[in-house]
Symmetry: D2
Subunit: 268 residues, 4 copies
């Protein structure tokens, strides 16, 4: 089994804020969330890079994206700054097979909303209450080795209703002290790509130092890693394979000029 190339993307704003909140966040993530995640996820089968929004091409030039097997995404206050062109490129690569692990407030990131087709709205409350997670799909690869229930002592509340598509497989559900519930770990497939949304990770708490959380993210990376796809012949305009008796050439006058844009798009 080969290694998996992981790129952890972070908007990297909160950690550099000159404010009491920034001071607190830096205590947990002195060099940024992405670098802490990279350190804590380190394993023989993972080759991990940590990149951020302020880097050239917003941290994801084409050579990095094309050599990424699984992209981990953390963003919160700067979703709007991410270029639409970059979102296009990431979406294309996910649909071609790259895994995507979207963390916490990434539910509102452009790339997650693009792949879901919905707003990905939820309810939220920030008082630092207790969250308790439950494994809902015990046999899912992402749940292996995880206790049936475990606690995040203090977290931002994310609650239902959460307007994600219905084909997400629910791996974790959360209970909040303040009375809310949430589908906190949900696995999707879109074309050849796998996507996992996992809500833990508010920046003011040291959540990415918790070994259970890290194990889940590691499981998600390994689950989302692209399998080698042997079949890959896309012949968008194939010849007929069976004998056609009812062919109607009259009806198929040359519409090639009309169809030009469409054909090009189909080729893409």
């Amino acid at each position: 089994m080969g290694t998996i190339n992981v790129t952890i993307w972070n908007e990297f704003k909160h950690e550099r804020s000159q404010s009491p909140a920034g001071d607190l966040i830096r205590r947990h993530y002195p060099e940024g969330l992405h670098r802490t995640l990279a350190q804590n996820l380190a394993a023989d089968d993972l080759v991990i890079r940590a990149v951020s929004l302020d880097e050239p091409e917003q941290g994801l030039p084409e050579e990095i994206l094309q050599s990424t097997d699984v992209l981990v995404w953390w963003g919160h206050c700067a979703h709007a700054e991410v270029n639409d062109e970059l979102v296009d490129r990431i979406q294309k690569r996910v649909l071609a097979g790259m895994g995507l692990v979207v963390l916490h407030s990434g539910h509102l990131s452009k790339i997650f909303r693009r792949l879901m087709g919905t707003v990905c709205r939820l309810r939220w409350r920030e008082v630092g209450e207790k969250e308790r997670l439950w494994v809902v799909s015990p046999s899912h690869p992402i749940a292996q080795g995880i206790p049936e229930t475990f606690v995040i002592p203090h977290h931002e509340m994310y609650g239902e209703p959460f307007d994600i598509p219905q084909d997400g497989k629910i791996v974790f559900m959360s209970w909040y002290e303040g009375g809310n519930v949430f589908r906190s770990g949900v696995a999707f497939e879109r074309d050849r790509g796998k996507i996992f949304y996992f809500s833990p990770g508010h920046e003011t708490f040291p959540i990415y130092h918790d070994p259970v959380i890290i194990k889940i993210i590691g499981n998600a990376i390994r689950w989302a890693a692209p399998q080698e796809v042997v079949l890959d012949r896309i012949t968008p305009q194939p010849q007929a394979l069976e004998k056609i008796l009812s062919e109607n050439p009259l009806a198929c006058l040359d519409t090639s000029s009309l169809h030009k844009a469409n054909t090009e798009e189909k080729k893409a």
Copy 2:
């Protein structure tokens, strides 16, 4: 039961082309596909408007969109001309409950791809072969009154694989003389909106004069029409409903400036 406000949108290009193909298409749809559909779908419970890309605000100014219960979409060679801003507005309205019926080559329209999150690629061949459709979900509202199988004598082939999300309910599947198969009628739900994709309707054949096809589109409109939703209280940042003992105010320092963008987005 009230009436349903239907808006039929057509890019309206092929029907005005000065070419042999255009001449043929005009034989079927002298005033445009959208107007033929409007005439053939006419019923007491439907109030139908037909609009097109060349009209002001691409046919869908906000007052029309906001008064539309179900939008029917036909586009082919001019997908790229539709403004992204219009796509944003349509998506928002679908997610708020407006029905959307996407016809034929609309699988590549910006709005359908936006709602699916995928490329919506398929295989195709244009030789005018026979297509045979089958009802796969006999109890689905869109299949009511439709023969278990029926034929389109000559059509463009659309074939699998079709990279749509897995939660689409398959209402119709198609057989093509040339050896292909296709999920030709698929029903989705996204947030409060219902979406139906239906592949028949290539412009060089008089398909929207076929009473079975028209009945299916009419059924789809009635299925996709928004129910009156009584519950509609979105309180994105609710107070705690249960007593919180583990509150951690230290961890919740004022991050309001950091969160501003996010909050605004969540409100939207």
Copy 3:
């Protein structure tokens, strides 16, 4: 719109127990849970019968079953007493279009497990703790007119993991004071029938006197009621519809005697 014939089935054991628990339960349901439900659900569009396990043919002779549009099921300690033959008949009728609303401990009933194909195991605790329900699918017909969240002051806890199939649409999710979460209202479709599982209703609490709970059950009945299905031609062994050139009669020697059992089953 016509009326819906509803049959409420109750095992009717707890309410007749000579024990302190029985005394308590009789305070809430003096004539049985089924009769209370019938009274509280009474509406112009519903024709309601209440039946129980101790009646002839366990309360569901064929003439009652065949004239039932929606069956409501409450059972707890006597699941094993229900005849397999009755379960067969109910399953057949659900698959043909009858609605089924399974309440509370009916998750372990033979009929629910038969239709799900799984054990329908869950976690449980009976200390009378608070349950809080959330609407997860605000636009679902069963959620109409229901508050976004509401409370059952004292209830038995039912918790995840709950091994139901993944295609259930989650309408409600529950939070429990003791730290558990649960998919407490889930809607399924199986062939032509609709099935709704709703967990509230432990017998020692007066839950079926709560107007919100009653409104949900009423909504579920109306949602599950069979639509008039116009298409109903099952021709299991149809003639070929398209010309077959590759017919291979040699390979199709008369296997009729071998296939007899199979054919009979297929006809059924």
Copy 4:
């Protein structure tokens, strides 16, 4: 990676029939379908047993079932002869994680119907026509190494509508010369078990000698093989994990005698 214990179960009736059909079938499968499958599937990572209905305990005594990782099932005319008690045991083992690959006419087997909850009815025609299969989910593990489309020269037709639950992932779809279409390869998950239905394999044709078919069945076996599930703590009646303030002991009078049957069932 360890080996997978595979048991191939065959009713083994057609192959021993004294009739012209039997003679033909014996030409393809002289020692029975199950033994041919075992030979053709032979691989280093598979330990394969072939068993049949006429063996002690219908071929699946508990020691064989408990040591089976993936069960392959072929049955046709003798579904009714399979003991319900055996079906119970197989179902239990599938839900606990054993893979199940159901072939051809096994769609009407007791075990497949039990796991689906539906009749699994389809349309059929036996004239030996051409079937063409398409890969619908190119990235699914079962589709790896399989051509995008391939042909079975002569086969029994199985056609839509097929009343399986909606959460089956469609891996293959079939086109039939006579005009029908079918979801011919569908993957399900039920509790911890994976199930794959694959329609090719009518006994009068040498289909299980086709290397593409064999590769698909081999892929399905490897896909369905149980993962080692690390989490396996079922504590059906857990203590409260969070502080309960609203406990209501009055309402929880001793109902233990009433609940005895239920509790035992829940333990099971």
